[in-house]
Symmetry: C2
DNA sequence: AGCGTGGCACGTACGGTGTACGTGCGTCAA
DNA sequence: TTGACGCACGTACACCGTACGTGCCACGCT
């Protein structure tokens, strides 16, 4: 009946599809099993628990990041490209983003991006300590940005924005927020991400680095 | 029997305590009710749903942020202070941090920090657009940092660090990660947060601002 | 004082969840 | 041929969120 046999990969795939289709709250072992046309308990022959399944989801998505790393490009451009790759994947799986960032994996699945980034930074002349710190700075910024972006676009229509309705804001209590309401309201996520990214890139470019490294 | 009558505030408080004591997975209406010595359904006389209760948790924690804002201080120091205030509250409720950042509230509860921050930035001479962008840059950085910090300290002992055990890393596949393992491993969260914060502050200080504003 | 009324704690019940466990069928190895 | 093993399946249990009905008690009005 089922063309392919059940497998961990197929289960993870079904979970991802389900999350994208109906949101993370809709995931249940029974539901995923139903989507695969099998009984709920059959999943446990390939996955030890629901938690492990969600780890698999995070792992699979992280490993889908595309690295078109051009070794000839300037290191700052490579950093930019890698940061955008992270963001890209989150936009490809918007409803999954939350589950990816919320579970911290102990598997080496998400290590390849780290490897690439650290490699780029070391080549750029950062010492070990600064390379790690800069990497973490970027990851923090990217994760934080994505969290807000997917929050603003919860389902399809962000009818209720993250901002309270304008009527709920008391200008006496929050004068600045009230005056900036329109600016806070409309946000071009792409443009804002690039704004922060550029600031970070410029800032770390000004950091002291080992002389003789790539300019 | 119960000294004080049931109330939304008392329920939220119990939820926070429970999360801090046993983790977010342990929260259930029955459990919270038991901790309060009442029946499960009694909670619904004060809280419409579990989701609303968790919103209340986020709201309560956010509103606990202490703002000892010194109007005489340089605006860069005020920015630093506000950023640290965010981090402080997350460290006061480490297990709650995830639930706070994971639900985006539509209530004006978390608006006061935004008001303060925007006010500071406007006074510093940023135009409306840049003030909002800079605020979001900082929020992204702070949220991302906290997410990693609370992830590294899941319970008390981070026996399984976010890094895979050193034995699991294949130096052939991840040479840079392997060589930087020790640096990646030990991290002084406070020091790293300050590192990124300082970079951000320096960077936005170099941004063009309205002339005549605070230097 | 008598009486209505509304708030609030409570218990029961229903549909759903993760998963421990036992069962039976298929397909390979000896 | 037979044994073992893999794997899909169903049942069962404890727990979850919460809709709904019941009864107590403290209050406002006449």
């Amino acid at each position: 009946m089922t063309p392919e046999p059940l497998s961990r990969a197929r289960i993870v795939r079904a979970a991802i599809d389900l999350i994208e289709r109906e949101g993370a709250d809709a995931v249940s072992m029974r539901r995923i099993a139903a989507d695969l046309g099998v009984g709920a308990m059959s999943l446990y022959n390939h996955v030890p628990s629901k938690a492990a399944l969600l780890d698999g989801v995070a792992e699979a998505i992280l490993s889908e990041i595309e690295f078109t790393d051009d070794p000839d490009a300037h290191w700052t451009d490579r950093v930019r490209t890698q940061a955008r790759a992270f963001r890209q994947i989150a936009h490809h799986y918007p409803r999954c983003t939350m589950v990816v960032v919320s579970r911290q994996l102990t598997s080496p699945a998400g290590l390849l991006p780290v490897e690439r980034a650290l490699s780029t930074l070391r080549e750029a002349g950062f010492d070990a300590r600064d390379a790690v710190r800069v990497l973490r700075l970027f990851i923090a910024y990217i994760v934080g940005s994505l969290l807000r972006e997917v929050g603003v676009t919860p389902t399809f229509a962000p009818v209720g924005s993250i901002l309270p309705r304008v009527a709920d804001i008391d200008p006496a209590l929050f004068p600045v927020v009230a005056s900036l309401y329109d600016t806070l309201r409309d946000c071009d996520a792409e443009e804002e991400f690039e704004f922060g990214l550029e600031i970070l890139v410029q800032a770390i470019q000004a950091l002291p680095r080992r002389p003789g490294a790539a300019t």
